[in-house]
């Protein structure tokens, strides 16, 4: 039940090829105007990284449509859901959804990322694969306004019940 790093990388490389949609990391980097203060996009969609430098082992970038498939692969390999969160890359007019996974039986840590346009931040929910995603996605919706399609209840979790603002967006001013 404990996968090796290579096996996982293979499974994800296959998934991304099957999807026939290359993740648009390179596109977004090209579209960004000038020398923005953002990290350079990772060179490939499936990137083993040095744990001692980053704190995780595998960095996977998928198109938004594939986050459920990615969650299913990790679920089959015995991973648990650590957290879901967002990052607002306002300079690139994009928002990143970051899924952290841990493995209860091995030291392997995996990060799955997907980018959605800021004007239309929508991504499928993974709560059917990991029910724990329910709250994490609600929180991410609270903070970033990212809509998780198919989510049963996106009412504010931590913010007041009538909140119509998203405080972690970079253009939010209190």
């Amino acid at each position: 039940m404990i996968p090796s790093l290579e096996q996982l990388s293979d499974q994800f490389t296959r998934l991304i090829r099957l999807g026939a949609v290359a993740p648009n990391v390179q596109d977004s980097a090209a579209a960004s105007p000038g020398p923005t203060a953002t990290p350079p996009p990772s060179p490939g969609p499936v990137q083993p990284v040095d744990y001692s430098l980053k704190g995780y082992h595998l960095d996977i970038t998928v198109p938004p449509g594939q986050v459920i498939l990615a969650a299913e692969i990790l679920d089959k390999n015995g991973f648990g859901l650590d957290a879901i969160t967002g990052v607002d890359w306002i300079a690139q007019d994009e928002m990143e959804v970051v899924y952290d996974y841990f493995h209860p039986l091995s030291p392997l840590r995996v990060v799955v990322r997907a980018r959605v346009p800021r004007s239309h931040p929508e991504i499928p929910t993974i709560y059917k694969v990991f029910p724990g995603a329910n709250w994490h996605e609600r929180e991410t919706h609270d903070f970033f306004g990212i809509r998780f399609l198919g989510h049963p209840d996106l009412t504010p979790l931590l913010l007041p019940e009538d909140a119509d603002y998203h405080p972690l967006r970079k253009d939010f001013n209190a």
């Binding site: 430098l53 648990g80 969160t85 840590r109 990060v111 724990g132």
Partner: protein, 375 residues
């Protein structure tokens, strides 16, 4: 507890009523509200309503320098402040490649483990209070007082510590602390034995907890529940062993695991963990290396662009700091993944069909700290 196949007969919607537990309720230990749909004494649905003391720590993180955010970390899970300090300084040290002197790492482990014991003592006394036993609180707070005195001596605070710094510690420990800690270990061991004899083996406690509130290992994985919750479900997952950080690999200690998956198993995990923490502290004091407690740190901290994670085993489970840097003095993003949030998220599923007093025993066995959920 009733078997799950009995539930449908009790879910006639015409016979249910809503019981509002909290946000001010002794059993929730803070500002947590649970909307319970009840059928008589049985819980049909329990929906936690959270966010009453949400403070938006993550936004505060974006509005101050890395160092200025450090005191915030001690105010998220106020019972386990040093572990949260550790995760944040760990993430920054990882990003900036700061070397931490070995003596500082040893002291971090000693103080963190003391903090773990004091946190478990608060849980223990509050949990027994929920179950109707007042006396253990008086004993536990007596022990905890000694830890708070020791930590006050070196950190300057009694609860919301901000003791760790990027690259080390703000203060070295002295002989008084070392002697005091040795005395504490010697006093605490017989106390733990006494607690076992007086409380853990008590038939009333056993009847209240054994077989109550089962949480399977699979449920823990699906919800991301960690700490004593997953270890009470038979999974030996502890960040100190499975993703070793600091100098934990240099100590011999065991990860207590109980496969029964009930509230008693989670209780026993924490009781056993206190003994293991004492073991770690004793070893660390025995081979405490000499030297400085502060490494070389640049005056203005600008981390290389990218994201950095650092996870620690806090008293309630896995605490993860995920930071994103864009090479400025302020963090671009700080994500705080807290154990209580994930541990509570499984409550709705776990307590379906339980009797109300059992559901509260389950709630207590999760060891929630509300600011840790709401952040």
């Amino acid at each position: 507890m009733i078997a799950s196949n009995d539930i449908p007969s009790r879910t006639n919607p015409q016979e249910t009523f809503v019981l509002n537990l909290g946000p001010q309720h002794p059993a929730t230990h803070g500002v947590l509200r649970i909307k319970m749909t009840m059928n008589g004494e049985y819980v049909i649905r329990a929906e936690p309503v959270i966010g009453y003391i949400h403070r938006m720590h993550e936004k505060m993180g974006e509005n101050r320098t890395w160092a200025q955010f450090l005191p915030n970390t001690g105010r998220i899970d106020y019972l386990s402040a040093l572990h949260y300090n550790h995760a944040f300084v760990g993430a920054v040290e990882r990003a900036a490649q700061i070397e931490v002197p070995r003596r500082a790492e040893y002291i971090r482990v000693i103080t963190s483990e003391l903090n773990r014991i004091s946190s478990h003592l608060v849980w223990w006394s509050a949990f027994l209070l929920d179950l109707g036993g007042l006396t253990p609180l008086l004993y536990a707070f007596d022990d905890r007082e000694k830890i708070l005195d020791l930590l006050e001596g070196v950190t300057g605070s009694r609860l919301t510590y901000c003791y760790f710094r990027f690259g080390g510690l703000c203060n070295d420990i002295d002989d008084e602390f070392i002697q005091g800690t040795r005395t504490f270990i010697a006093q605490m061991r017989p106390r733990l034995k006494m607690y076992r004899e007086l409380v853990t083996d008590n038939i009333i406690l056993r009847k209240r907890l054994e077989g109550i509130g089962p949480i399977s290992a699979e449920m823990c994985r699906k919800y991301g529940a960690t700490g004593p919750v997953i270890r009470g479900s038979g999974v030996a997952y502890d960040v100190r062993k499975s993703e070793p950080y600091s100098v934990y690999p240099e100590f011999a200690f065991e990860i207590p695991v109980f496969p029964e998956s009930d509230s008693m198993a989670r209780y026993l995990v924490r009781m056993e963990e206190m003994a293991q923490s004492l073991r770690i502290i004793e070893q660390a004091l025995g081979k405490l290396p000499p030297g400085p407690v502060m490494g070389k740190v640049p005056r203005v901290l600008k981390l290389p662009p990218g994201d950095y994670c650092y996870a620690v085993e806090a008293a309630r489970g896995r605490f993860l700091v995920r930071t994103v840097s864009d090479h400025k003095e302020f963090p671009y993003r700080v994500k705080l993944r807290t154990p209580s949030f994930s541990n509570l998220s499984l409550y709705e599923e776990a307590c379906k069909g339980m009797m109300l007093p059992d559901a509260l025993a389950l709630l207590g066995s999760l060891d929630l700290v509300i600011p840790d959920i709401d952040r």
